[in-house]
């Protein structure tokens, strides 16, 4: 580790915070129905959409209607994307003349993009037409992210309201998230990427003759626009197979900072918007602090593990000064790679600028754990916030009794119904991740996809299911996931990870919104103090992480101790 590395990391994070504060305030206004400086321009457009769709923006929905609208929207999105991918050979903008996708791959990919996972079992430049990329994938990059924001806003309103039967209107929240938040920022970020040298064209690939006289196909396309929303919406599905490690997606150190910045900014702004909307700004910062502390701890471990290098290679005479550079891009360096690794997994983004499978065991342990902790650090756009609120509810419940009152969060009592639903939600991740992993390691058909044996192979499978269920989408690499088994089970994992989690959370929101708010007094359990932040971190680690510990011990942890003992896989 070097001082200059930490300076880079801290500067980037400071930049994010600096932008997130006004963005949070802006979002609080947008979703509070307030007037913003863009309302004169976007307002008529917004109302036009409602008229077109026959939506009455004033009519609010209860939690069930909100959930059903969200589910219906996702099902339609899934079906249309599935159709586009299957029929891409007959659709326009297919300069390379790619065939339609296989049924299982199309199923997997459609779910992947609808759930904001962007798990890619395919190589973008060798599978997808421009039409599929733009009309299919990029559209869902917007919509799945907007859905996440809408859900978070609905949950936020539950705490802001008292004695309310409704949480807002899904169609309005979805439209506003897209129109007021994602689209304007995406346009700016896309232009910035173009300025930094990312291609933006409808041309297909170019053929080049290399110095050796060999022919090389260089893939091109509308990369910058896709890149912007891929990062901004914590989608992570790259236009190109190598994702943000590819020089066309992420050409320079500056574009790397922009990539990190844009994937963090909305998720960082959401807790701030939450604090403003519920009228407790300190609460928003308390949630953010817990996220930041765990995230920075993750960055530190990756950075330390990677810079200390691989003792096995050092023993072979490799200079350890650079640390472990396998699978990394020299133009980003160790510090900004470590930051990218932790952020993309703490975030449920899943874009990668280095190959996670090539990280040292401890360096690979961190992204895996960050995903398994529930994607709340700070998590995907929207999903991170509502996931964090579930943890806050659990923390308040476990420790809140210790002040001698029945637990309450932001004045709302946490009772049996909320507890039942919260447990239902947190059950999903271990069930899906550990369940499918455990079955996969016993199935020859699944094991055939592994490139590595031993603990590293186990990590590959564990990582795949964690990434899917956590709606992260990054791959550990080394696992050939484009098989019917993995396409199907990972697809199911993604759907469960998103919908089986969020529906109980919306039900919690419904019951919270209906409750009265207990006034704050000296006897109230304080949830915006450093003490609570510490408690929340403890609860995230113990209730969110402990169940994965045995599996992690058999994967990256044992690999680490074996590496120290001189064994490799």
């Amino acid at each position: 580790m070097s001082t200059i590395g930490w300076v880079q990391i801290c500067l980037t994070l400071a930049l994010v915070l600096l932008a997130a504060i006004p963005l949070g305030a802006y979002m609080a206004k947008v979703f509070g129905g307030g007037h913003t400086f863009v309302t004169p321009v976007l307002g008529p457009l917004e109302r036009g959409f409602y008229r077109l769709a026959g939506v009455d923006p004033k009519r609010e929905q209860g939690w069930l209607a909100y959930s059903l609208a969200m589910l219906a929207f996702s099902v339609v999105g899934f079906a249309s994307l599935y159709a586009i991918l299957r029929l891409q050979a007959f659709l326009p903008w297919n300069p390379q003349g790619f065939d339609g996708l296989s049924a299982d791959l199309a199923f997997n990919t459609a779910i992947s993009f609808v759930t904001n996972t962007n798990w890619q079992a395919y190589g973008g430049e060798t599978t997808m037409s421009h039409f599929s990329q733009m009309a299919g994938l990029a559209v869902h990059n917007f919509l799945s992210a907007a859905t996440g924001i809408a859900l978070a806003v609905a949950v936020t309103r539950a705490f802001a309201r008292t004695g309310s039967a409704t949480l807002g209107n899904f169609w309005v929240d979805l439209t506003r998230a897209t129109l007021y938040v994602l689209l304007p920022i995406a346009i700016i970020v896309a232009l910035a990427f173009v300025a930094l040298g990312v291609p933006q064209t409808l041309e297909g690939s170019v053929e080049a003759t290399t110095l050796e006289g060999a022919k090389q196909v260089i893939a091109l396309g509308p990369i910058a626009s896709q890149e912007a929303i891929k990062q901004l919406g914590t989608n992570g599905g790259g236009f190109l197979n190598a994702n943000s490690a590819h020089p066309f997606e992420n050409p320079t150190a500056i574009s790397n900072v922009l990539a990190i910045f844009s994937m963090l900014v909305v998720s960082t702004a959401l807790p701030i918007a939450f604090g403003r909307m519920v009228g407790a700004q300190r609460q928003g910062y308390a949630l953010l602090a817990a996220m930041a502390i765990l995230l920075v701890a993750g960055v530190a471990i990756v950075y330390a593990a990677e810079t200390s290098g691989n003792p096995l290679l050092t023993a072979l005479g490799l200079d350890p000064a650079m640390g472990n550079m396998e699978g990394k891009e020299v133009r980003f360096g160790q510090a900004m790679t470590a930051l990218f690794v932790a952020v993309t997994t703490g975030l449920s983004c899943g874009a990668v600028n280095a190959m996670h499978a090539s990280l040292t065991p401890l360096g690979g342990f961190v992204p895996l754990l960050l995903i398994q902790l529930g994607e709340v650090l700070p998590g995907g756009v929207g999903s991170g916030l509502y996931g964090m609120i579930v943890f806050a509810i659990l923390a308040v419940f476990v420790a809140g009794l210790m002040v001698g009152r029945t637990p309450e969060f932001l004045g709302k009592k946490i009772e049996a119904r909320e507890m039942k639903l919260a447990m239902l939600a947190v059950l999903i991740l271990p069930l899906v991740i550990l369940g499918f992993s455990s079955i996969a390691v016993m199935l020859p058909v699944a094991l055939a996809s592994l490139a590595n044996a031993g603990p590293h192979g186990l990590t590959e499978i564990l990582y795949a299911y964690s990434s899917a269920a956590g709606n992260n989408g990054s791959a550990f690499a080394g696992l050939n996931a484009n098989t019917p088994w993995f396409n199907t089970t990972l697809g199911i994992s993604m759907a469960l990870g998103r919908f089986a989690y969020v529906v109980p959370v919306l039900a919690i929101a419904g019951s919270i919104a209906a409750k009265k708010r207990v006034p704050v007094s000296a006897g109230t359990f304080p949830t915006d103090t450093p003490l609570f932040v510490g408690l929340l971190i403890g609860v995230i680690l113990i209730l969110g992480g402990l169940q994965f510990f045995p599996a992690l011990a058999l994967g990256p942890i044992v690999e680490h101790v074996l590496m120290l003992a001189g064994q490799t896989f």
């Binding site: 008292t162 659990l394 419940f397 476990v398 420790a399 809140g400 009794l401 210790m402 002040v403 001698g404 009152r405 029945t406 946490i414 009772e415 049996a416 507890m419 039942k420 447990m423 239902l424 947190v426 059950l427 271990p430 069930l431 550990l434 369940g435 992993s437 455990s438 079955i439 390691v441 016993m442 031993g454 603990p455 192979g457 186990l458 708010r517 207990v518 006034p519 007094s521 000296a522 006897g523 109230t524 359990f525 304080p526 103090t529 003490l531 408690l535 403890g538 113990i542 209730l543 402990l546 169940q547 045995p550 599996a551 011990a553 058999l554 942890i557 044992v558 101790v561 074996l562 120290l564």
Partner: protein
Amino acid sequence: MSKKQIAPTLFDSAILGRASLDAVRKLDPRSLMRNPVIFTTEVVAALVTTIWLRDVLAGQAGSSFSGQIAAWLWFTVLFATFAEAVAEGRGKAQAASLRRTRSDAHAKRLLDPHNLGDLFEGVNALDLNVGDIVLVEAGDLIPSDGEIVEGVASVNEAAITGESAPVIREAGGDRSAVTGGTTVLSDWIKVRVTAAPGSTFIDRMIALVEGAERQKTPNELALSILLSGMTLIFLIAVVTLWGLAGYSGTVLSVVVLVALLVTLIPTTIGGLLSAIGIAGMDRLIRFNVIATSGRSVEAAGDVDTLLLDKTGTITFGNRMATEFLPVPGVEQKVLAQAALLASLSDETPEGRSIVALAKSDHGLIEPDFGAKQPVVIPFAAQTRISGIDIDARSIRKGAVDSILRFTNTPIERAPAEFRQAVDRVARTGGTPLAVAENGKLLGVIHLKDVIKPNIKERFAALRSMGIKTVMVTGDNPVTAAAIASEAGVDDFIAEATPEDKLAYIRREQTGGRLIAMCGDGTNDAPALAQADVGVAMQSGTQAAREAGNMVDLDSNPTKLIEIVEIGKQLLMTRGSLTTFSIANDVAKYFAILPALFVATYPQLGALNVMRLASPQSAILSAVIFNALIIIALIPLALRGVAYRRVGANALLRRNLLVYGLGGLVLPFIGIKAIDLVVAALHLA
């Protein structure tokens, strides 16, 4: 106060003996199903036992290990049921003593209940129906709960309250309720029976202390859901581990997987949860307060507004003289002397307090009248004056306007100092009494409501706990404000009618607050029913007792504060032990995980930070620790976590340190210690 029933000590040997038997009886899976964590433990204990039996029968090596694990799993379950049995045992002992006092004696039922004639028939008390009227005479047990319709009697209620001094019960008013099982000491009363057989106050009390009607309270239910959810999560983790370990080349036996499961699921809090709830109710009962449901005990912890009656709670019941304010030209001692003389035969508390003040502050002694015969003028409602004529001295004291009229002094002609003194006393919430001798004004006696000592500090402590205190009084707003500020309450309701109280409670509840109050009159009943915690006085009317959700057997309204603290303590104990139980898991991982995989990956021994002797001793030690910690925490669960009157933040910091951090560290030490013993005894 003399208490007849002496609360059983924490570990009475008789209770422990019976609890041990009950603990075994509670192993019945049908009743254990109510507790998912311990039920799961029982199921896997049975599973491991079966495996052990199979191994023993097959003569397989290593059966001693599975046998020991099975034994400790059964101990885990037994310790949990034992905790519950001990908690219940204390209630049962109390119920038994109550049952002895329950009347199944004969009752004298009036033959003509409409005209309240004197003819009666002897019937068994259990045959009495609601609406029957019975005659109870001196020496009789009152056969059932009821309302006095005629007569007045002194009643010994020691059977219920433990208080042996008799109380007066009479028809009409707020003292008309009588309780079955109490004894009439003198006179006679006719009582209309208001409780059906089997549902009298004593019957309900027995059922409550025995825990027969025990249902999970809302918070207990929510906590059980959390614990069940965690059990499920760890079940998933352990079951899937079999597959993941299989991939890694380790075949995990069912016995070690079960050991891992049981140490991870929250058995500590799961085992103690119901004991904590029962003990909380029990603490109230020993405090002579009967809660009709566990729900109200929990609500007591949440209360954030206390409605307190001024009289008896904040002030002593009566006004007391606090100073003598003479007019110019009169020495204070002279005024004191005159007041003393005028009050000598005044037996009211106010009169006595004047005598006491004159003696203590002015060193006066009671004069010896010798042969002189003083003429005592007793207090009369019409004149509102009392006094004494002795020799030529004619001394009068009374309400200011009455004395002025008596002395023919229009108020404007009274000395300015006199008027100022009267004003000052009235403004500070006191009552001025004027004293005159032979038609001449001597001065003013300041009577005031005396605030109970330390009550201001109590209210300050309540405020730091986030509880608002509201004084309810019939006084006028000026007086009420003065007393309120002196006592340090946060708010007051002056000239309060029962409707005012009810409206105040409703208003506060709309704002999301939880209210506790106490009351005894029939007109308190609606407010008692509306309040989240309504404590009815045992001395109050039947209507009040039925409207409240707690009954205070000592009829002491100050207890409201302690009731809130007992509620808080109950919730705190639950939270602390839950935190402790969950924090324990970290150490158990470090004990068991390396032991599970050390055969395949010897390098994982690096995680064996406690340096436990062998894989088997590590697993066994963790399971033993897991069982013993339940028994070690039973006293804490029954006694409750110490409650301090400080703000939530300070409480949280302290408890998080003790039970959170303590829960992380203690098992490392405990498991290591047990491992040393296990290794020394060659158990594994």
